[in-house]
Subunit: 406 residues, 2 copies
């Protein structure tokens, strides 16, 4: 009798992402362009790496004093300390009062995984997670797999073509008591003072637990402090919160995903309890986090000259993003493409919405071989001197085509 | 009104491990010795690193052709391929028939985490996990946290001072239908042909799913093929199984925990289904695994000269372990310490049982400042020319002391 497989009932899983890239790679058209890379690209079409990183890589490889033993479970202490100072600023009250701590994690998904496990165990009444961001986030899955009810809301208003903070306010007012808010990109929303007050009041009265997502501090505005300034506000309002701090993208070490699960508590004693529980959870998750990326980042952040060089490289990257956006807008204006296109330059960061509906996007993919996700959110650093004319002319064509016009 | 903390009910967690090392570090005695490092040590008391690794590290840092983009979710393909060939041998039927695959994971705990998540979803009737190994394994926690019932059995017979495969046979005969067996160190047990037949018969008839643990291929016998030979037997008996393959320890890159969750299925179609589901799970766990360690290992395994050099370094390490064990035994004999001490050299690998009861161990820790885990299992590579006399004399003293003698 032939053996029956244990895996007989396991179906082929649908791919969750990457199918656009796969179609792009299979496309034989010489003009094909992919505008959805997750990483920032240089004007030569290569993944961006901060100029300071290769030097440090080499230096670390040649350092005979380094040992390659296991890290403690919490990860590299100097790394989390440097990362927290970057996130909050050296003199922030949570640092001075010793009530912020971090666990070195495997990328930002690792931070969400760890944080979600903690919340599942220690906030048994919090079973609903609201994810409010400018796009669909992969960490929705993390919470879902763990049994949370996940509701996702987009801050992007595809009709008005702008970020709409009222989504966040409405959700906060309608959400049940004690739920969890995973908040991304809130720094890119311009909340008025009264909107802030409304948000804080709702979140306080309902004891909503905030879990912030900082995927790339500095890449929104080019200013590291400005990008995370809103955290200060939550600190000043006596919130306790988690924060997923990802550092790979802002150094250009994408293959060494390093992140920090940041914990802000009301006092040091509470913090130590939370960190001790998190440490036990990391043991089951990955025991010791990989150190390579953390070592590179720590070497840079702990040396003022290198830190300066890195900040400069980040600033240049952001200036380049702004320049590309300006050029795209200008070229569309010169082509007479209907619409204002101000929304392109109004958005921060490398990833922004083109503001095209799905039919127009399909037109670009199918007819022009320009690969764009269905929601029309592209990575502007994929546009360079060689492809900008083809891209803007194609957008113009798509907008003018009768397909998908209202 | 002061704000109440969200974390008010979170107690300080008990540390799961590391307290012995902490006590050792706090000890002021100049003679103190720690014999429980997780990594192999050189005769100079430094963590062992294969001589080929520093060269590769440097080479990789200087290679301008490498890019540092995100890896695919399944990890580095060349790495998993090379690892599978190492585990099974190039011409193994599962490789030839294309029915073995692997997912690049964050260390071996990552492999257990991923495998356990899969089994939880796709083997809903398998809720009991038996962990059968020579020592308490940290992955028991992984399964426990996920809601499995975990039963642990030790292969070490502390009375007879030997590995006892009958433990495994008895558990297999008493275990319920459809349970999961996490099996470590089975290669170190000398099963007779009839014992093998009994084991296979029980596991087959009860559809027990094997999940093997290969923490350090080659470090048991010094022979890479011999250490994992038992896998061939399970393959030949048409078993489907998982295997956690850890590679950090055998290259000496402890801080870049890299592992592979190995999947063996009855055919390629089944394998692809399982791998596709695992890929979706990795997205929530860590999205992309870190590549540094994988890159180092792949560079070595894919170059015959480097692979030869690495194998030689591993062989020397194992020969050194055997030599240390012989010397310890010899010195105890010369001291006239009661007992045969053959069990020291009869055990394979760097970590072996001294065969002392907990009172004798306590004597060594408290009176001689020699730090040994309660079960008396030590890392023999921590013993070197400078401390061997003190250690053997102390063991002699402990054995002769009236404390804890029967």
């Amino acid at each position: 009798m032939p053996t029956l497989s244990v895996f007989l009932d396991v179906p082929l899983a649908q791919k969750l992402e990457g199918s656009l890239l796969k179609t792009y790679k299979q496309d034989d058209c010489p003009n094909k362009i992919f505008l959805a890379y997750r990483v920032c690209m240089t004007s030569e079409g290569q993944p961006w790496v901060s100029s300071v990183v290769p030097k440090i890589r080499l230096q670390i490889s040649q350092d005979p004093s380094l040992n390659y033993e296991y890290m403690p479970m919490m990860g590299m202490k100097s790394f989390t300390e440097a990362s927290l100072k970057l996130l909050f600023g050296k003199y922030n009250q949570v640092i001075v009062e010793n009530r912020v701590g971090g666990v070195h994690t495997v990328g930002d998904n690792g931070a969400f995984q760890l944080g979600a496990q903690f919340l599942k165990i220690w906030r048994k009444d919090s079973r609903i997670v609201y994810i409010i961001s400018s796009k669909k986030e992969s960490h929705g899955l993390v919470f879902q797999d763990m049994g949370f009810t996940v509701c996702e809301y987009s801050l992007w208003d595809s009709k008005q073509l702008c970020m709409d903070p009222s989504v966040l306010l409405d959700v906060a007012e309608q959400a049940p008591h004690g739920c969890i808010f995973v908040i991304g990109n809130i720094g890119d929303c311009k909340l008025t003072q009264s909107q802030w007050a409304r948000l804080i009041a709702s979140m306080k009265s309902k004891q909503i637990f905030p879990f912030f997502d900082i995927p790339y501090q500095g890449l929104s505005t080019g200013n590291l402090e400005e990008d995370t300034g809103f955290l200060q506000y939550f600190v000043s309002q006596d919130f306790e919160f988690f924060c997923s701090q990802s550092l790979s993208k802002i150094f250009g070490i994408y293959d060494e995903g390093v992140g920090v699960l940041v914990v802000v508590a009301l006092n040091n004693q509470l913090l130590l309890c939370v960190l001790s529980q998190l440490m036990n959870l990391t043991q089951a998750l990955w025991l010791n986090p990989p150190t390579r990326g953390a070592r590179i980042i720590t070497s840079i952040l702990c040396n003022p000259a290198l830190q300066g060089e890195w900040k400069q490289s980040l600033k240049e990257l952001v200036e380049n993003i702004m320049l590309i956006k300006e050029k795209v807008k200008e070229k569309l204006r010169l082509l007479g493409t209907p619409g204002s296109w101000d929304h392109i330059t109004d958005q921060n960061g490398p990833q922004s919405y083109l503001g095209l509906n799905s039919q127009k996007v399909e037109y670009l993919v199918k007819k022009k071989h320009i690969y764009i996700p269905k929601n029309g959110r592209i990575n502007f650093t994929c546009i360079n001197a060689w492809n900008i004319d083809y891209i803007t002319q194609s957008i113009n064509e798509a907008v003018l085509s009768p397909e998908g016009s209202e």
